[in-house]
């Protein structure tokens, strides 16, 4: 074991060396455009509970920058990334955003981090530069200059509730999530669609975020309530613990589970032995079979080799942010927030998961319903061009 790990580390070092060589070559080629680079501050989760996404977020952003620079940069300028940590407290996030604007003089800010940090960043940048927020989120944010490429609750719930009720052969739902704004808003939306199909909510439970939660008591309640579907808005470690316990208690044969934040990394934690009858509805899965996704993943393999971090919807959105910014800036001819905002509405751009179109500062996009097959996702349905349902 130890020996094998040592070689892994050596290959890692090699790929880091290779990666830096590539970066060197690229900046050499792009020297004419590099004179006046367009600076983009990118918030990623280097620390904190979501830090497992950090390496993949950095990779997706770097691939996005490569793609844009390979196509002539933005407004004829090469983009240059300044990575900062979005995994610390909201107050730290705000300070970092101010530093990005005042001392690094960035032209735009992109971010994949939690909502509390987003609100703090919005408060700090006050609409002075365009800000693109990319992960799954709860919606209802109309801050000046902000754009949202992630899945909204409406997009996750609108079609999947109905579809899953048909698969499960029942319309009763047990809602379980972590106790903060995203699960509560998502469940609020879910209830609207559950009512629409004539279903009912049997129970709604919330667990504190970041505590050492045990889910045995909820599992006993679920077993006795016997819902058709367990709708989960648990995140990270809690998502893993709950679903492992669910399966250990033998409930996975009897009840369908839809988890609203189940991507590749979380599924790896849940494990192949605990993923029976488990579904996920997101705008991206890393094994999507499309030329655009293949190109994205191949670029990752080329740049990072076999150590390329596992992509998921949480990280891949940062790639989209670069494509989006280029499309809008080229239409607007400027990065001025007001002009940028006018140009953004209605613009279409191509991402690894399909075409997206901005409407009310959120993205209309294809949504995928996937069933877990052991340790991988199998897309069983595609919902085309789902509206984000936002009114900014």
């Amino acid at each position: 074991m130890v020996l094998r790990r040592t070689t892994t580390r050596r290959t890692l070092m090699k790929s880091i060396a290779a990666g830096s060589a590539l970066v060197g070559i690229q900046s050499f080629v792009g020297v004419s455009r590099a004179a006046n680079p367009l600076k983009i501050g990118v918030f990623v989760n280097d620390t904190g509970p979501a830090s497992l996404f950090g390496p993949a977020q950095r990779a997706a952003a770097e691939l996005g920058a490569d793609q844009v620079n390979g196509a002539g940069g933005i407004l004829g300028r090469n983009v240059e990334i300044t990575f900062v940590d979005g995994g610390a407290s909201p107050a730290e996030g705000a300070k970092t955003a101010v530093r990005l604007m005042l001392s690094d003089k960035v032209d735009m800010i992109f971010g994949s981090h939690d909502s509390a940090v987003r609100l703090a960043i919005e408060g700090a940048i006050k609409g002075k530069v365009p800000y693109v927020y990319t992960p799954v989120y709860e919606g209802s944010d109309c801050a000046n200059g902000s754009y949202f490429l992630g899945e909204t609750p409406q997009q996750q719930m609108e079609r999947s509730i109905e579809k899953l009720a048909a698969i499960a052969g029942g319309k009763s739902f047990y809602l379980i999530g972590n106790d903060y704004v995203w699960p509560r808003t998502t469940n609020g939306q879910a209830k609207i669609y559950i009512e629409k199909i004539g279903g009912k909510v049997i129970a709604e439970e919330y667990y504190p975020l970041g505590a050492a939660n045990n889910f045995e008591s909820s599992i006993a309640k679920i077993k006795s309530a016997a819902p058709a579907i367990v709708l989960q808005t648990l995140v990270g470690g809690d998502n893993v613990s709950f679903n492992r316990a669910f399966s250990d208690f033998g409930l996975s044969d009897s009840f369908a589970r839809l988890s609203c934040l189940l991507e590749e990394n979380t599924l790896a934690g849940i494990g192949a032995d605990a993923s029976k009858n488990l579904y996920s509805c997101l705008a991206y899965f890393a094994n999507l079979d499309s030329p655009a996704n293949k190109a994205f993943l191949d670029a990752g393999k080329k740049r990072y080799g076999n150590e390329a971090p596992q992509q998921s919807t949480i990280s891949k959105g940062l790639f989209d942010a670069f494509v989006f910014a280029k499309a809008v800036a080229e239409k607007a001819g400027s990065l001025d927030v007001a002009v940028f905002g006018l140009a953004a509405d209605g613009i279409s751009f191509e991402t690894p998961s399909g075409t997206q179109k901005i409407k009310n500062r959120n993205a209309i996009k294809d949504m995928y319903l996937a069933k877990c097959d052991g340790g991988t996702f199998e897309v069983i349905d595609t919902f085309k061009a789902v509206s984000p349902g936002q009114t900014c």
């Binding site: 509970p49 830090s51 050492a212 939660n213």
Partner: protein, 284 residues
């Protein structure tokens, strides 16, 4: 109604015993040696990663037990010699030192395994029938292991020569030294035993939790609540604390909701720190 009451009763018992198992090593190190061992959670994490490595190598799960004895035993020896002993087992100094060590160990594991979640298959899948209701076999085994360890700990501490030597050392180190007890070796062995117990707990809970370098942090928070309430340095305190924390968490979750349960534990911990900082069953 009967089914759910019985299962919830089993759940409370499970939560209490699982918590006691996870905290046993800390209770020994903190209770007997006064070392505020923040790195306890990372020892558990290393135990869980040991189990992961054993399973990933295709070996039977049971081999994780000797593996963790070696890994955590060696780690405990090194940490005691290079960190705890030079700081003369001082509570505050070791608190800072073990906090730093925790950071280091997390980064070290991250270097080899990355930050991603890992999972370990349940070695005993399926369930057993208890009074006509099924309960997962592996959880029953965890309860049995924890109960057996608690009983052995009481017997070891109360009835054996080593137990009485430790009691002598804790009571009056100078006098213990004078009657020929090698307190240096005794303290070292006690610390290493605590480390191994932490690693062993990691092996046992690995199939039930997300395995990642940060996993120890949340676990250790509950441990400190438990020690505040239960009291330091006694097996009764360990069981009492686990019962209070685990019991309240399960019972309030079952009757009200989990957030209220967490809130009541926080409130209770604050109350104890304020009114009874030595806990319910302190060492006298």
């Amino acid at each position: 109604m009967d089914a759910i009451v019985l299962i919830q009763g089993m759940n409370i018992l499970y939560t209490v015993l699982a918590l006691a198992l996870v905290m046993m090593g800390l209770a020994i190190v903190m209770g007997l040696l006064n070392v505020l061992n923040i790195v306890h959670g990372e020892f558990i994490m290393i135990g869980a990663f040991t189990a992961y490595a054993v399973q990933a190598a295709g070996w039977p799960y049971i081999l994780s037990v000797p593996a963790v004895f070696l890994v955590c035993g060696a780690l405990g020896l090194v940490v005691e010699r290079l960190l705890i002993r030079p700081l003369r087992y001082d509570p505050f100094d070791t608190l800072l030192a073990t906090w730093g060590l925790g950071l280091l160990l997390r980064k070290f594991v991250e270097m080899f395994f990355g930050r991603a979640f890992r999972s370990v298959q349940v070695p005993l899948p399926g369930s057993l029938q208890i009074a006509g209701h099924s309960y997962p076999t592996y959880r029953i085994m965890i309860m049995a292991i924890s109960a057996a360890l608690l009983v052995s700990l009481v017997i070891w501490f109360r009835k054996t020569r080593t137990g009485s030597r430790i009691r002598a050392m804790v009571g009056n180190p100078t006098l213990a030294e004078a009657v020929g007890i090698s307190t240096v070796a005794l303290a070292r062995n006690t610390f290493v035993a605590g480390t191994i117990l932490a690693g062993f707990a990691g092996v046992v809970i690995a199939p039930l939790v997300p395995i990642e370098p940060q996993m120890g942090i949340t676990l250790v928070v509950n441990a400190f609540f438990m020690i505040i309430i239960g009291g330091l340095g006694t097996v009764v305190g360990l069981i009492g604390g686990a019962t209070m924390i685990g019991g309240i968490q399960s019972a309030v979750s079952a009757v009200f909701d989990p957030t209220t349960a967490y809130l009541s534990i926080l409130a209770l911990s604050v109350l104890f720190l304020w009114r009874w900082p030595r806990g319910i069953f302190p060492r006298v």
